[in-house]
Every structure is written in structure tokens, then in C-alpha cells.
Symmetry: C4
Subunit: 233 residues, 4 copies
Amino acid sequence: MSPDSPQTLVSLANRMLAREGVLDAFGHVSMRHPADPTRFFLSRSLAPELVSEADVLEYDLSGEPVVATKQALYSERVIHSVLYRMRPDVNAICHHHAASTMPFCLADLKLRVVTQLGASIGKTVPLWDQRDEFGATNHLVTRDAEAISLAKCLGANNMVLMKRHGVTVVGATLRELAFRSIYSCRDAELQLRAMSHGDISVFTDEEIALAEKFPEATLARAWDYWRSRLPNA
Amino acid sequence: MSPDSPQTLVSLANRMLAREGVLDAFGHVSMRHPADPTRFFLSRSLAPELVSEADVLEYDLSGEPVVATKQALYSERVIHSVLYRMRPDVNAICHHHAASTMPFCLADLKLRVVTQLGASIGKTVPLWDQRDEFGATNHLVTRDAEAISLAKCLGANNMVLMKRHGVTVVGATLRELAFRSIYSCRDAELQLRAMSHGDISVFTDEEIALAEKFPEATLARAWDYWRSRLPNA
Amino acid sequence: MSPDSPQTLVSLANRMLAREGVLDAFGHVSMRHPADPTRFFLSRSLAPELVSEADVLEYDLSGEPVVATKQALYSERVIHSVLYRMRPDVNAICHHHAASTMPFCLADLKLRVVTQLGASIGKTVPLWDQRDEFGATNHLVTRDAEAISLAKCLGANNMVLMKRHGVTVVGATLRELAFRSIYSCRDAELQLRAMSHGDISVFTDEEIALAEKFPEATLARAWDYWRSRLPNA
Amino acid sequence: MSPDSPQTLVSLANRMLAREGVLDAFGHVSMRHPADPTRFFLSRSLAPELVSEADVLEYDLSGEPVVATKQALYSERVIHSVLYRMRPDVNAICHHHAASTMPFCLADLKLRVVTQLGASIGKTVPLWDQRDEFGATNHLVTRDAEAISLAKCLGANNMVLMKRHGVTVVGATLRELAFRSIYSCRDAELQLRAMSHGDISVFTDEEIALAEKFPEATLARAWDYWRSRLPNA
């Protein structure tokens, strides 16, 4: 496969985000088909660190693989299919349960921008609680209705916190997504560490607006660095 | 030996749980003999990360090796023999002192389910204090009476906290045990991190009941991932 | 190139400080030209861990490369050019956003000397807030006016905290700079850990004066150690 | 050299304790000459992780090398020479600045035994403050008078905390010393983590007395494990 094939890029993104502590045995990264907006690429059910090109399947926007398969699939792939339907501007999605952001999903805390790189978070990070609309569940998002509710809560923002569950992040490109997924975790970690020692100073909305768009060169520099850290880069 | 031999599986489980931070120089994992419920497999006395197939011995339910040996044995192997006697439904056991769960053994804290994967903990985690029944000891569980007291406190639950000591975890299968041992530690860590920043929201008993049983595919996906992270996987 | 060439040394320092957790995908280290004080060496725009000799360019004190290049350059290189202009005693500079020191840039905390090695911090660490003079910005230091303001705040000290941004450290030599960059981070980490458990005891100014100058042998021992930890040392 | 030569053992202990996070670029481990109690073995000045057999020198109890050398020596080697003079029962010494124990040297905290393995700490851990007797210093222990004051504070105990500096640990054997150095750090870390969440339960003096002596098999199992983790074990 070409080094720029969606399968290769999705494999790389999965492995990078695992290497950088965003993903562990669970969580997943997808990208929209570059030529056909009604399709997207996502791995079969597999730990992100192990995803190779051959594991990446093509799905339609109902969340079903284009080529029927007997392989196990992610039960939460509906998060991806629904978000690609409802957010035409989104071309890459990550769903994760990183330790850095989980305190914001468990305690009553607001995720704020505390550094220039963290500005990729954006001004507002909504919080979705599956309980509100669906009552007692196992907290997996496996039905269209659940994913639609999540997508509505996300709105036009860059990421949404999921109460007692994790985070879903979106990006206009796969590189932007990787950057935002990693630096929102780093920002969250810095915020938590600092808050333990008193009130903190955060970016204003005006400052976030000035900082939140990163030039392609910045995203590429970070992407190349993270790729270089993979065992078989 | 076959890749599915109990010796191979016990060796793998020891090395995985060491790699994932559940075990260090101490702690141990055992599994019941698949064909003879009156026997179980456990390493000779050795740091878990170093346990190879050849180090795994067969024991009877009195805690003695089936084939006499001059090798040093774990002084706390009675935890395993007694639990296999008192819990016919249990086919795998881990005893550990992970840093993630020790605060729950030292401070007055309740281990709660805070994520879907953490639901493997179950609804109730009892706390056993060797002091209550046995007064001042060196805190090792080396006598049948001590292990029986521990087993009674565990009851029908999945794990028991041991005051100033560590944790004992049980499973219906070795994969379930590995999953529960690792994700109870991860859940504990997340809970501790979040609690440092205020009151937290946890799973209700109803939600735990919906989440606590994991399909074999989920356990296998995690097992395969952890195995892939071993130096000589 | 000679193993003592500025290009080699700057490459080594970048990789060391990345390996020791001071730098990640961003941040940079420079040194003044040993023979021509109006020149300095700094990498092209690249993650520090990836900087090789061939990536290190020679700059003049206006912050422009001596040999014109189409390669991307660090947008914040003005921090280096201005500091070399305003501090003739400084021969090496590191700009970083280490997790250890960020709480001091976010919360209202004073960075204090708590160990002998931490005395390399010096008696006073000023805090610069880009907001004070320049209002709402993206928090990058990319204009001479911003770097001059930062340099004035630094004054004759060894390092300056940058509010919501990071740290800039200076040294008389590259080895002193590496030592100070690493041990100020370690000292910060120790201070944060200890402060979580009550009031702490710190070095007095008199003690800092006795401890802050490190013999070349000490700097070399640490440098050799950090170099030995690099993958291709 | 023989695998049991003091030089080999001292090299191994230095590298192990560095690998396990007790030592970093600084700190040192020594052992008394097995045949001549008026001599001891300690590395020349070098980061512990880099200490090979060839770097280990023989010293007399005045702290001078038996064979004159031009190599740089540890400035704090007087800690070793004085303790070997004043504690005939001590055959191995470690001086370190581990992050785990530093909060106990900075804040007003008592290091307590919280686990069976931590019982190697013993009942009492005195705290020495160089300031009390010597006023303002750079906090290095380089003179006999300073080391004698430290030794008096240590008394018959196993370890002594040094205010704003670090820890000195002693053992009857090198293996006991390695075990105590590592498990006192682990115990300290567990204590700190637990104390962040409320009052903790600790071992009583009676329980410490029952737990503090470890059989040679336990020390050997841990030693073999730590040795196996060295890059060139």
C-alpha cells in the first residue's frame, strides 16, 4: 500500500496515540474516505497499538463494513458513523479513555486551555452524560440514538467529555486530530497538576481564538516526531 | 509444551501482570488444573516477570507440590489452595501489592467502579484486616486459618482488599482474572486522581450489573494486546 | 564533523533534554558561536529528539540564518537572538514547556531551591506575563519587542518563568545550561510533591550562594551520564 | 573478575538502584571489604548507572583510595568511611536523593512502615539537619565532622533522612542494603499516595519487629529480579 493510503495513515494514528498514552487496549481512531465522504476507515476490533494497514476496514455511514466480514468489529463504531453523518466538516475522529482526561469525566471540573498548544481544545468542551437521556446503561455507545445524542452535545465543538466514560475528539484532518487528541491530554494533565496547588490562570476566549489554528507545518512537525517514536516507524 | 498448556498460560499471565504494573518483585498468579479441580498451577518462588513454563509447578489443594521439590516455594501459596477449596467457581487467582490499589488498603477509602472496564471489579469489594482475628503479625498470609479468614471475607465477590498488605483477585478464567486485575488497578488509579479534585460520580449497582460481564472477545482482545507487549511475546 | 563541533553539541543537548523530559515535540536549545559572539547555533524547526548535526544552522543576532534556507525555522528563535544580544555572559539557551515547571507558570507558586543540585536555579526566578505588555496574544514570542520584554524581566538571573507558556533558561556554557535545565525541573518536581504534604523547608539565599556554582567535573559527570542514556549515544 | 568479587557486586548494586529509581546522576553505593573490615569498595566519581567493575576502587577508613589515583572521587565519600568506622555491624551503604523520599526531607512528615516489605525500614528513622550544627552550608557532607554528626543521628537505625538533601541507608549485607533502599522508597511512595486521601493505618512497632528480618531467600529473589532488569544483566 502507498505510504499515504488511508489504511496506512489510520494504522499510524492508532499506534501513535497508543504510544503517547491517549489510547491503551481500547479506544479507536478513524478517518473519512478522502474521495468519498460517505465512507470512512476504521480498524476491525483490535488494540490500537496492534493495528496494521491490513486491519483497517472501509465502512459506510450506517457503520457497517463495505465488504462483509466475519471479523469482530468495535461495538462503539456508531460514534464514528454518526459523527461523520452529522459533521460534514469532520474528517477524523478519536474516541479514548485517557487517564489525563478521565478526572474531568468523573469530578466536577472544567477542561480549560492553559497553554498555546492546548488551544487546539477550543473555547468550549461540552459534557455528555449517557444517563440523562438513557438511564442506566453499561456506558457503551452502541446505538444510533446514543451516538446522535452525543453528537448533538458535541455540536460544532472540537471535543466532548463523556461522563464516567471518556472523550470523543474530532478534526478537519487526521494530523489535526492527532495533535488535538495528544495536546488536549497534555493540557488536561498540566491543568490537574497546577490546580492541586491553588487557583490557576487560563487562556481567555480572545487568546484561544488567536492560538487555536495551527499551521500545517506545526502539525506536521509533531506528527513526524510521534511517528519517529514508534517501534517500527 | 503446547502454547495452551497451563504452565505456558500461567507464565504468560505472571509476565503480563508484571509488565502492566500489577506485580513487581512479589505477588503471584495461579490457575486451577483444567481437568482436575483438586489441583492448581503456580510458580516456584520467583519474581513474576521471570516465571517461565519450567518454573510452574502443580499443587494439590493443601498447597503442597504434587511432585516433591527442593525449590523454594511462595510462603503465601496458602491463599491459592484455600481459595480453590472454598470457591469452586474460581479457576484463577492473583495476589498483588500494586501501587494503584494500596491507598485503598491504607487510607479509609472505598474502591468504586468509575468506568465501564472497571465494572469487572463488581458491586462490592470487602476489606480484610489480618489484625482483627490474628492480632500482631508480620502481615504475611501463611497459615490455613489466615487464608480461610480471608476467603470468608472475600465471600462470593471478585476481589478483597487486605489492610496494609495488598489485594487478592479471583476469576472464572485466567483471561477474566488478568482483565480484572489490570482494570481494577486502572480504575483505582483513575478514582484516586479524580478524587483529588472533588467529589466524583460513580457507577450505580444497576449500571455495574449491566457492565460487569465481558464477552470472551473483549477479554481476548485485551489479553492479546498485553501479550504483544511482553519482551519475548 | 568533529565530536566537539557546535553542531554536534547542540544536537546532543537537544536530544538529552528531550530524553530527560525537559523538551517534547517542542522547545529548543541553542549555543553561541565559540569564536564569534555575534553568531549562534540552533536547529531548523524540528522536534528536539530528532535534531541531528545536519539540522543545526548558524544564525546572526537578528535571528536570521547566516546562509539563506528554505527550511522551516522556529517561530520563537527571537528568544535566542535577543537574549544573546542583551546578555553577553550567556552562551547557551533553552526554551521549554516541561510538565515539572508548568504548575509554576499557571498557579501562584514560587519556584524555590530545595536541594543542592537545584541551587543551579539561583536566588531569584522572575515571572513574565506576555499579557502585561502585549494584551491578548497567542502566547508565542515571535517579535523582537516581546523577546526584549522577556529579556528585561529575566535580568541577570538564570531562568525566567513565562505565564501560561513555559520557561527560558540561560547558561555560561552548554553543559551548565543542560545541568540547570534538568535540575531546575527535578527541583520543581520535588517541591511540588513535598508541598502537597504541608509547609516545606527551602535553601536560604546564603546557602544558595554557597551551592550554586558547580565545578566543571560535576557538570561533566552529569553530561556524560545523560549522553550515555541516548539511544545512539 | 569473579562474579562474586566486591567490584562486580558494587557495580551491580549501583546499576540496579539506578534502574529502580533510587539513584540518578548522583548518589552512590559501597560495600565493606569482606576480608578486611578496615577497607571498603566504592566507585570513582561517576553516575551510578555507568559504574563498571573497573571503576570500583578500594578505600581505607579515612576515605582515601588505597592505591593513589588521579581519577575524580565522590566529594561525599566521607559518609561511607565514617559510617564504616562508627558502625562495625554495617557492611554496605547507600546515599541517595530519590524522589520518593525527598518529601520526607522537605516537609514535616514521618516515614512510616505501611507494608510488610517496607518493614525493612525499621521502627525509627531519625532526621538530620546539617544546619543545626554547621549553619549555612552548600548541604554537601564532605568533612569528617559533618559525617560524624550524621552517624550520631543515625545511631543504631537502618536509615537517616537528611533535611533538604536525601537519605543514607545501611545494611548488614549488600543484598539487604539493596532491598532496604528500594523498599523504603516504595513504602515512602505508597505512604505519600495514601496520605493524600486521608489518615492512614501503619504497622505497629510490634508488627515491625515481626516483619523486619527478611530471610536470605527473599533478599536473593528480589536481587535476582532487579539484576535481570539491567540492560546487560
